[in-house]
Symmetry: C2
Subunit: 135 residues, 2 copies
C-alpha cells in the first residue's frame, strides 16, 4: 500500500524530472493535501515552505507540470514525479532546471569553491513574476 512517510513538519520531499529528457528539474516538498491533489488531478501541487502554503506549480508563471508518473522510494519517505513541463522552465530564476550550476570536483579547499554556470535563462523572471529577479 501507498503510505508516504511525512516528516515532523508534515512534508515529504519530491524529486521532479522531465519525462522526455529525464533531466532533474527541481526538488519540492508536498504535504498530504499536495500529494492528494497531485494524484487526483494529474497536475503537480506542492507545499511552499517559504510561503507556508499549498501551491499549484505554475499558478503565477503559467509553467505548470503535467504528471506522467509518480514513484515512491523503498522507505516511502521520498517521492519522484516525471512531468511534462508546460512553458519555458521549472526554475524561478528563468532556467529550465534549478540545477544550473556545477560544483567542480577534486577540490583541496571546499570552502572556496567557485560554481560553474551551465544553463542559460529561457525566460525573464522579472517579466514573469513581476519583481525579484533570481540568482
Amino acid at each position: 500500500m501507498f503510505a508516504p512517510q511525512f516528516d515532523a513538519a508534515g512534508l515529504i520531499p519530491c524529486i521532479v524530472t522531465d519525462a522526455s529528457t529525464a533531466e532533474v528539474l527541481m526538488l519540492a516538498h508536498m504535504n498530504q493535501e499536495a500529494v492528494a491533489k497531485t494524484l487526483t488531478t494529474g497536475e503537480a501541487w506542492y507545499y511552499s515552505r517559504s510561503r507556508a502554503k499549498l501551491w499549484r506549480k505554475g499558478e503565477t508563471s503559467g509553467h505548470t507540470q503535467r504528471v506522467v508518473e509518480m514513484r515512491v522510494d523503498c522507505d516511502q519517505d521520498t517521492l519522484l514525479i516525471r512531468v511534462e513541463q508546460v512553458g519555458a522552465g521549472a526554475c524561478h530564476t528563468g532556467r529550465p532546471t534549478c540545477f544550473y550550476r556545477t560544483v567542480p570536483l577534486k577540490q583541496d579547499d571546499v570552502r572556496r569553491v567557485v560554481l560553474d554556470f551551465r544553463e542559460e535563462k529561457v525566460f525573464d523572471p522579472v517579466k514573469v513574476y513581476g519583481a525579484k529577479p533570481g540568482t
Copy 2:
C-alpha cells in the same frame, strides 16, 4: 561561491542519478563532512540519519558510487550528483534504484492506493548485508 544551505540538523538532501542512464537512484543526505569527502575523493559519502553516522556508500555492499558531476540548485539547499554505480544496485532492497514502485495516478481515494512494482531485484540483500531483507 558554493555555499550549501544545511538544515537545522546540519544536513542537505542529495539527489543521486545514474550518469549513464540518467535514472534517479536514490535521495540521500549529506552533512558538511560528507560534502567535503565527496568533493575531495570523488566517491559518494553520505550521512545516515537512521544510523547517525557518516557513511561511504558501498562500504558494506561494495556497491560504491564514483561521482561524475555535482550540481547545486538555485537556493543551494539541494545537491544533485551524477554517479557511476559500481556493482549491481543502489538500493538496499536489491534493486538498481530505490524508486522501484509506481503510485497509480487519477485515484479517487488516495488512502487506498496499491503500489505497482516495476523493478526486479538485481542482488540478494540477505547475502550482501547478512540479514534484514528489504521490502
